[in-house]
Symmetry: C2
Subunit: 446 residues, 2 copies
Amino acid sequence: MRASDCSALLTDLYQLTMLQVYYERGMNQTAVFEFFVRKLPPERNYLVAAGLEQVLDFLENLHFTADEIDWLAACGRFDGKFIDALAGLRFTGAVQAMPEGTPFFPDEPILRVVAPLREAQFVETRVINLLQFQTLVASKAARVRHAAADRLLVDFGLRRAHGAEAGLLSARASYLAGFDGTSNVLAGMRWGIPLYGTMAHSFIQAHDEELAAFDDFARCNPQATTLLIDTYDTEAAAAAIVPLANRLAADGIAVQAVRIDSGDLGDHARKVRAILDAGGRPEIRIFASGNLDEYLVRRLVSEGAPIDGFGVGTRMNTSADHPYLDCAYKLQEYAGAARRKRSEGKATWPGRKQVFRRIDAAGRLVGDTLTLEAESAPGESLLHTVMREGRRIAESPPLAQVRAYAQRQRAMLPDALHHVEAAAAYPVEIAEALRELARQIDARMH
Amino acid sequence: MRASDCSALLTDLYQLTMLQVYYERGMNQTAVFEFFVRKLPPERNYLVAAGLEQVLDFLENLHFTADEIDWLAACGRFDGKFIDALAGLRFTGAVQAMPEGTPFFPDEPILRVVAPLREAQFVETRVINLLQFQTLVASKAARVRHAAADRLLVDFGLRRAHGAEAGLLSARASYLAGFDGTSNVLAGMRWGIPLYGTMAHSFIQAHDEELAAFDDFARCNPQATTLLIDTYDTEAAAAAIVPLANRLAADGIAVQAVRIDSGDLGDHARKVRAILDAGGRPEIRIFASGNLDEYLVRRLVSEGAPIDGFGVGTRMNTSADHPYLDCAYKLQEYAGAARRKRSEGKATWPGRKQVFRRIDAAGRLVGDTLTLEAESAPGESLLHTVMREGRRIAESPPLAQVRAYAQRQRAMLPDALHHVEAAAAYPVEIAEALRELARQIDARMH
């Protein structure tokens, strides 16, 4: 289940319809498309670029299989010569992009495709599908990281993620953005993400006695004993764990943590902490899960709940308060001429663009400038070439390295942007050269 | 990209950890798990069961590959004999379920798995992952269908769906629940879902003149000419289409529709309708898209906006106002004894259950009874055996047949449930036999 395993037919019909017109009209000069987000979702102060790795995998491997070509020929919508051309379709273009883990802001392109029109157009649907989802989840996960400070954060969201790829890629995106690990075994196998897990309520229920379930689990998992204590009565289970932990300790087995998954997590955590401490087990940690998101984690942390780690699932993996980004992959140049869409509320900045980011002496971000690629501005440029002639120019960094980069980038954000409430907008200046180009195009179109 | 193509390791670590305990302790008697939704999301009046087909595909094909077994052996968490047992793991159990397309309500199981404990436990993560997502989307899509009455509804959501499988399965779920088609080509190939598509703004922008783009498109697509008119100035484009349509008509090509994708859709539709009618083109239909959901579709329809069809994407495919269901797959019986979880706010009804549905003389749903499988109640039973010994007992019906069933079921719902606002709850009675069993288990646990 790699991004490239997916059929090339996982696309919108109009891509093929448009390509047929381009084919029949001989239109295939160089096109420049850019992916950007129009505005931040509510409460978000910044976004975290993610998904580039899967986009590059998709582009490098793009092709139609013989079965797909046969189906296209049989469906009756397309001309035979055009279908022959599709059978040879590969991505031969260039890609410039921000590195994964880079914070970014509205109107800033995070990816640019420069390729013959048919290729650059055809890849639109899947490029958006891959970039928007991982960026959405990474941006949400970064907020949970801000709320949790340095407490353990584990992705528990596979079951309610939207399908298999969402489960897999949200484990990747959340780890990239600062989570410590995931329960998702395939994500562990694929990217070496640290794996965490406890037990389900069914494990307790399958035993006639809760304490027997705890004992069974600890003796079979002496290295990783976290016991789920809310199946029947949370505090009663905590009280029973004290003598159990003493008996297990005598056999060299340590109960590492208990997990609470329902009720008022802060209240239960305080009571359980008191029970464990009074029983001489201050080393047993408390792990909480159940409908968590950055708002609830922040409340628990600010109230001083004695919780050492959080399992965060559904609301993070689905970005539940806003499960999509207002994003687009737009034609900015064709055949050497800048292009501009002017639809109401959806006008775009034309041309090939670059983002320059200014950083102060203390290493903090000060402001960005959005300008044309051919121009320059103070600060570091954020978009770099990552693919030429359809091939990556370098091997992708290991995910742990991307995560470390994202962590450094997060630390460079102005303090106000670390909050889970909306702060004043980070300054992104539109350069005069870009405004002038937009004016010229508008004048040409009238 | 079938549900079964996905690695068996797309699961939570704790499934494997628990299985190892069950293996070492020799626990593998018959377990009964049921999937149900605890409560309806806000504004929802009912849910539509969907995803069974993919669950059955997953169960029939469950196995670990040699690579996966090697990785498990190398990861150092599991015992060699247990890994050998995993290599032979198959699903050999039975499944009872409601047919896809059946409306259902909180606490009603839509799927029951009866299998040896290890198998029934192991499949939990992916069963939830498949059932909750399609049910979520089908339930949302049914709301859009209620709002749109008999207008054309097309799924446009692939690009902002959460990954590849979400895009594919949301096309299926929305069609099943009443949409007319999708833009998703792979969904068309896989299930024969009717395909729809127009053109992108980039198609207009790649041409130097908007009218030249329209003309090119119509002449290359004489059978399916829908023109996107909001790239620059919606009404100006509509006015230009009148003489173009006349010229095309002279060549035997009909402009079928125009699409509006931005601004106040109702206002633009009225102006465009007037322009087309005044130009003698009343047959050109108006298709609208852009951030649509059931609330906006209902407003446009109730205001009498002259819109003939809607492209509905992101907000439907992500179920944007509530992108997940409060659902669970819970152990209800093990080794012949009913089981019950009593966690706060998450207590379950124990035992193997059946749902009986009463229908009045006019064919309308009157109320349901949730009771034990061994009991009976007035009405039709909704859960039926669909798998025995790990194999389907019958071929699955074609998707068009499932869609027709869902349509008949929708027509049988009480009128109030057709609204997009929350109505009074549909009556679901908990039978006394079930309450008594819950009391017995609670007494046993104290």
